[in-house]
């Protein structure tokens, strides 16, 4: 693990039957940076995200995380309570489908406040104030704080999920296709929001996306995956403007320009 890395993966392997979803993958994430993982469906990018976040245990290899106290922990050897605590506080996850993480029967404010309450916050007024602050942060009007998520549009739901995730000021957020399934105009707004929040909060993000434009906009570094392997990695603009690997060249040349 590099001395200043936040998260480091070495030699990750994971097979599903005869399919090698991860075939010797290395990756590092540094504090405050956005790392994009791109590739087509089935390239292993989402599996990599799961392996990095501890949701899936690799057959071989290790993932190390440097906690706020500087101590390095093996993500896959941590006791379950410690890993869950990490996911509630220092880490966050943004799913493509916000319904996967939001509680649809709980108000927007309750959704945002849940992580605070899980961390032991017991002052209603403070929790509510924080929830309203974070709704504003993601451009949801304060008077929607008591509304149920089912009255929200798709873009609003995604922004609510982001508020719910960032409220505990995590150091590392895993995002899986955060703008997938949204209209282009809604997508642009969300991308801008993520870009601004990430820069201002200094949060590190592992961003899985099949959309190269999203990667270019948000990430300074990029990992290109194909068939469970990293085929190319480096500066986002260099990899996309001067792709070396045949697959990356294909990926870049396949993008439609408006």
């Amino acid at each position: 693990m590099s001395p200043d890395a936040l998260l480091s993966a070495r030699g990750l392997r994971l097979s599903f039957g005869r399919i090698d979803a991860l075939d010797g993958v290395d990756a590092e994430v540094f504090p405050g940076e956005v790392l994009a993982v791109v590739g087509e469906s089935g390239s292993g990018k989402t599996t990599l995200l799961h392996a990095l976040s501890g949701a899936m245990c690799p057959d071989a290899g290790a993932v190390s995380y440097r906690g706020p106290d500087g101590a390095v922990q093996d993500v896959h050897r941590m006791p379950a309570p410690a890993l869950r605590a990490l996911h509630r506080s220092d880490w966050g996850t943004v799913h493509q489908d916000p319904r996967q993480s939001l509680r649809m029967a709980v108000s927007a404010g309750g959704n945002v406040g849940e992580r605070l309450m899980a961390q032991g916050a017991r002052h209603y007024g403070d929790i509510r104030a924080a929830a309203i602050d974070w709704l504003r942060e993601v451009e949801i009007a304060a008077d929607r704080v008591d509304d149920l998520p089912r009255t929200f549009s798709g873009g609003m739901l995604q922004r609510l999920q982001i508020a719910r995730t960032l409220v505990t000021q995590p150091r590392l957020v895993f995002m899986d296709e955060p703008t997938g399934g949204l209209d282009v105009s809604v997508q642009a707004r969300l991308l801008d929001l993520i870009r601004g929040l990430v820069a201002r909060l200094g949060v590190a993000v592992v961003l899985v996306t099949h959309d190269i434009a999203v990667a270019r906009l948000l990430a300074r570094r990029i990992v290109v995956m194909r068939a469970g392997r990293v085929v190319e990695t480096g500066l986002t603009d260099q990899v996309l403007d001067d792709p070396q690997h045949p697959y990356t060249q294909l990926l870049v040349s396949s993008v439609l320009h408006a």
């Binding site: 991308l191 801008d192 870009r195 906009l217």
Partner: protein, 235 residues
């Protein structure tokens, strides 16, 4: 750094492109480029269209990957080879030492012109207010009217976008500045502003390396020319 000190030097710099989608054809563009740039001077790349001037600039910036040779650069008082530096080092060099004004502004949806320009300073830890004040002054100097500052440049004209790009490039105050056709879409008045900015930068000891097709602008800023010749001709 006193004026005249060497700040950038390429040695045996080579670059070719391999097009895997077209049967792996290899197109050599640069070979053995040896370029030296000193603080306070402006060097303009010369050569016919397609000679590889833009490729050279982009390779020095790290936008293209150097294939052979080295790109030595003074960064925080020490020499560093950008050709072999890791991505995070390159990002640090871009933030603090090496500025780049591209031919076209890459527009970020919904981000205002002022924010795009101010980012050159906030990225280096300058406070938001101070950065915005600097950005505002620089935009006004480049004749971008105040009413446009709060708007995202997506709807701006080519010349306006280019001036936003220039404002960001010059506001960063990098000791080395790369300019790729900075005046291509500007009128005479704005070209004059750019000439003024380059001269002021040189006076501060900034080393400028550029591609400038407009002869008047080139003559006004260039201390010397660096010829880039097409490899096919050289071969």
């Amino acid at each position: 750094m006193s004026a005249g000190d060497l700040v950038l030097r390429t040695e045996g710099l080579g670059k070719s492109f391999t097009l895997h989608l077209q049967g792996g054809v290899r197109i050599p563009v640069l070979d053995g480029v040896a370029l030296a740039l000193r603080a306070g001077e402006c060097v303009v790349l010369s050569g016919p269209s397609g000679a590889g001037k833009s490729t050279l600039l982009r390779t020095i910036y790290g936008n293209y990957r150097a294939e052979s040779g080295s790109i030595l650069l003074r960064h925080r008082g020490a020499w560093l080879d950008l050709a072999t530096a890791g991505p995070r080092t390159v990002l640090e060099v871009r933030r603090d030492t090496l500025g780049y004004v591209s031919q076209f502004l890459r527009v970020v949806p919904r981000v205002s012109a002022l924010c795009i320009v101010a980012e050159a300073l906030t990225a280096r830890g300058v406070g938001t207010e101070e950065a915005r004040a600097g950005a505002r002054a620089m935009l006004l100097q480049l004749h971008v009217p105040e009413r446009l500052h709060a708007l995202p440049p997506a709807t701006f004209s080519g010349g306006e976008q280019q001036r936003v790009n220039l404002a960001r490039g010059f506001l960063g105050r990098h000791p080395i500045l790369l300019l790729d056709e900075p005046t291509a879409s500007l009128d005479a008045a704005n070209r004059a502003v750019v000439v003024g900015l380059v001269r002021a930068a040189k006076a501060r000891g900034v080393a400028v390396l550029g591609i400038v097709h407009d002869a008047d602008t080139r003559d006004a800023i260039a201390d010397r020319l660096f010829p880039v010749t097409p490899l096919q001709d050289a071969a």
